[in-house]
Symmetry: C2
């Protein structure tokens, strides 16, 4: 197409609201236009990219035999109550009333809708396994939408759901999706994406992976072992072994620690290493109004996702406790011995083998030293609610080889078991005529976020390098003096027509602009092949061609140009096969 | 694909909730699943059809040079206030609050969003004309969702918007879209769709057409002239001439009509033809609380769309008046002479040339006869607010050749002028550097409604005949005894593989079901080519082939089968070129 007609006005300045590269480049290049907080119009360049991404996703889903459907975005409260999520999900589920005063939601995911759609569609075991998918709009009322398409409120997602009669079949299909997702990331040009074990969160179920693109703009923390294959989201990462800090058995002693309420000041005051101390982290669980006290080694942090999973409560239901007058708690001096407050008490594994700890004595201005939990408190159960650090042992190879990286979650897959089918009464008859609930898997991938992730990985601050598979245009022809020099115009038009006939997506910069302006804009459009036609080169019968994966441009003779382009484009496509 | 895996459970009975053919067939065939009032999941068969429809629409839009974008469904109140539609549109615009308590809407159309997205994209006259489009979800909170996909609340729509510097350019583009739409209807198999002049309604602007599929299930009334090309939605249809009923000039006489409050009883009482009487139709306009009295010939009905347009008020703001004590109105005896109630008084054109009418005398139990409006009331303006009937003159050829048909509105196009660009301050600099507002056209077509319309037109009560361009499958192979007869299985599998390799969309009924069940299901799937493989025919080396546009099935020799299918399929595709 002609660039004079393309709706894609570039900005000269870096957009001030952009904190990460993809957000800034997509705004600067005229790919997206913000309509409201967390809501964007995909302008023509972006829509070209997402259509290509959607095509790749469709091809991979169809290869798996998944059947495409389309479910509504708006759903009833009744539907969301069927699996008890209407009340359990927080305000990211947008609730509203329609004109008849009926309670409705904007769907952020479609497990309930899928099961409801399929209720009478698979009543015999012979129909299983099968899967369905859709590429459709979702709405998630994020508390803090940010980073452009990385965390938007309205977005396009491919979500697939598989149905099975046994877990072996689910495992098999899950593995197929696992591989199909890897293929999708290869094909859109970010093979760097890795799958990590993840939390099942509000989805429930027995296992989950997230696909993470490791990069500084990521909001997730990923624990990765350098020595083995272990990788997991920080939310679920664990270590199986702690170095013991206090293995001398000491006597229990109560010491006076006037006004010493923090670990750091206690360390200053006593000169005892922090790793030999324990601390109490205190929460309120809002659903039952109970107090939760976590005892953990003082050099560790509580992993609140693990804690919530342990307590089986949702996101917004667990908050740090604010001191209340009625509490029977000596804030700043809390420990496991002599604790008189009724509470849910959790002991982290980091304390399990420690022999002599410093801990609060549950009395203002006093701590214990030499506290041995088994001896001084009694038998307790130790559970893992700690955040892993990069000094921990890998739980699989047991080496101190963990590192922590940032990542963008570009997709996720879950084994859901029968949570939804059971509550919604989806059944089939097995070989013996017995009624059973199928089990499910679900598989999500965000289209816009995937596009932004590619930009995040494939760009410099002024230039997007689109992989050939999803670039808005395959070839960008940038003639110099197109509107002034007749030879340039003639050769350019001929090349444009020939390449267009050969089914390339070609953009021709027919604007009356300087070479500098044209090249800056071309950098933002990021076609994998750029052909520059200048009066000087043309007089020598050559064209300047820049291939995105090569460092330098080449001068190519006119009669070799078409073959050259074809050959290079084939190579570019090979990279993303 | 294998039918045993296809998610499309057919129902044996006609769905009781279905009042029209397309609704019933799409439910019965497992194409759609109702999720809530006016909301449906498109199951695999329906999604296959809508994907093909979307592809055709995209191709035609791309041919026009329209650039695809994607705008959010959710929009802010602020955006909808920019062109004053937030308050002027009734409760079909779904309003709600997000988690920050901000007022939001679910978009039912995207004029404001398009202009906002493009605000800084076309600041020079050189960029014009251009157009953008999207294929996207809309939500319209219908008071009475009905007829399945014909009037749904959530639906997929292609909406395009064109931008121009002058009306000549808009007219030209409008004509192009007009033709492209005709081509789309040809290509999806319903060339019967006609374009009729229509009301601009809440869109504003200077002209509009609706595309109507004439059929009994339609909810719109279309006025069509048998003699010339005139056609219009009843909402805007008009006649330019009335036969005069009362051309004798009589004297004004007040007559006693005790308790005679209706036209019919007045006719009985006086024996005067109804066409010689006038009547008053009384409304309240809710925005100003004024009374509106329409005087119209008694054999005519008020066209409320015309009346609302005359008064420049929206749908829900004009309601029939309920008698109120404070009214100075002799209900049942209202007429133009001696009217003492302050009101907006409208005289319909049907009264313009009448000489002697019967009319209420604004006094309980009295009417006038021989009322001559000019003589007895004075000079008044007559405007057209009457519904056209099939006994009226065609306004173009002036023959009594009008008929009224029912139609489904499958698309609409509007000339919008600068209503939105002006209010939202979208500007460009013209050749002389002067800032101006572009003018717009907008062009909508409902994807799901289009699918349902095809079913409405192309089906019998038990069978859908999909046009080859949009059928969920091209070829349906129905083997008899597939699971029992090895020869049948072998030949069937071979044919299935060959046809699949040749890129046909093939469905193979591999189920262990009777021929009767298979054929009934096949009728609902409606592939344009059906191949039946039976043990008996196979033993004679022939296959039974049924082509959708032929009355009878043919027996085709094995070695001719592939050519036969190819030839027939080519012919089927030709029908929808």
């Amino acid at each position: 197409m002609l660039q004079s007609k393309l709706i894609a006005t570039t900005k000269k300045e870096w957009p001030s609201e952009a904190t990460i590269k993809s957000h800034g480049l997509l705004l600067k290049g005229g790919y997206i236009k913000q309509m409201a907080s967390g809501m964007y119009t995909l302008m023509p360049l972006a829509r070209r990219v997402t259509k290509k991404i959607e095509k790749i996703i469709r091809e991979e889903m169809d290869l798996l035999g998944a059947q495409e459907i389309l479910m509504p975005l708006v759903a009833t409260r009744k539907l969301w109550e069927m699996a008890d999520r209407y009340s359990s999900i927080g305000s990211e589920l947008l609730r509203f009333k329609d004109r008849t005063d009926a309670d409705m939601v904007l769907s952020m995911t479609h497990e309930e809708a899928t099961v409801f759609s399929l209720l009478n569609e698979a009543s015999s075991y012979q129909k299983y396994p099968f899967s369905v998918y859709q590429i459709q709009t979702k709405f998630r009322d994020e508390a803090r939408p940010r980073a452009g398409l990385i965390r938007a409120r309205e977005f396009t997602m491919k979500d697939a759901y598989s149905f099975h009669t046994d877990s072996k079949s689910l495992d098999k299909e899950y593995d197929k999706f696992y591989e199909a997702y890897n293929k999708i990331f290869r094909r859109v040009g970010i093979p760097e994406v890795i799958a990590v074990a993840s939390d099942t969160g509000m989805m429930g179920g027995s296992g989950a992976h997230e696909y993470m693109l490791l990069c500084d703009a990521g909001e997730d923390k990923i624990v990765i072992c350098d020595e083995c294959n272990y990788s997991a989201n920080m939310e679920v990462a664990y270590t199986s072994k702690y170095d013991i800090a206090s293995d001398n058995i000491e006597e229990l002693k109560k010491i006076n620690t006037p006004g010493i309420k923090t670990i750091e000041s206690l360390h200053q005051f006593t000169n005892i290493p922090i790793s030999k101390m324990g601390k109490a982290v205190i929460y309120t669980r809002l659903d039952t109004n109970e107090i939760v006290i976590v005892f953990i080694r003082a050099d560790r942090e509580v992993n609140e996702t693990k804690l919530r999973n342990l307590l089986k409560i949702d996101d917004e239901k667990l908050i740090p406790r604010k001191e209340e007058k009625s509490d029977n708690i000596a804030y700043g001096f809390v420990g496991p011995k002599d604790l008189n407050q009724k509470a849910i008490v959790v002991y982290d594994k980091s304390l399990e083998n420690e022999e002599s700890l410093v801990f609060g004595a549950n009395e203002i201005d006093y701590h214990y030293t030499g506290l041995n939990i088994k001896r001084d408190v009694g038998e307790v159960e130790f559970v893992d609610v700690a955040k892993v650090t990069d000094e921990d042992y890998c739980p699989e190879c047991l080496k101190k080889s963990l590192k922590i990286e940032k990542g963008i979650e570009v997709a996720n897959i879950f084994k859901l078991s029968d949570k939804y089918t059971k509550q919604m009464n989806m059944t089939y008859l097995d070989e013996n005529g017995k009624s059973k609930n199928p089990i499910m898997g679900c598989y999500g991938i965000g289209v816009g976020r995937l596009m932004a992730s590619v930009v995040e990985k494939k760009s410099t601050e002024n230039k997007i390098n689109w992989p050939a598979s999803i670039a808005p245009f395959d070839i960008h022809i940038c003639p110099i003096d197109y509107t002034k020099n007749e030879d340039v115009k003639k050769e350019t038009d001929m090349l444009y027509n020939t390449l267009t006939k050969r089914k390339y997506d070609v953009l021709l910069d027919d604007r009356n602009k300087s070479a500098g302006v044209k090249f800056k804009d071309a950098d933002l459009i990021g076609a994998p092949i750029r052909v520059v036609i200048s009066p000087r080169n043309l007089s020598e019968g050559v064209f300047e061609v820049k291939i995105s994966n090569e460092d330098n441009e080449s001068l190519v003779n006119k009669d070799e140009l078409l073959n050259y382009i074809q050959e290079k484009f084939t190579l570019l496509l090979k990279e993303v096969e």
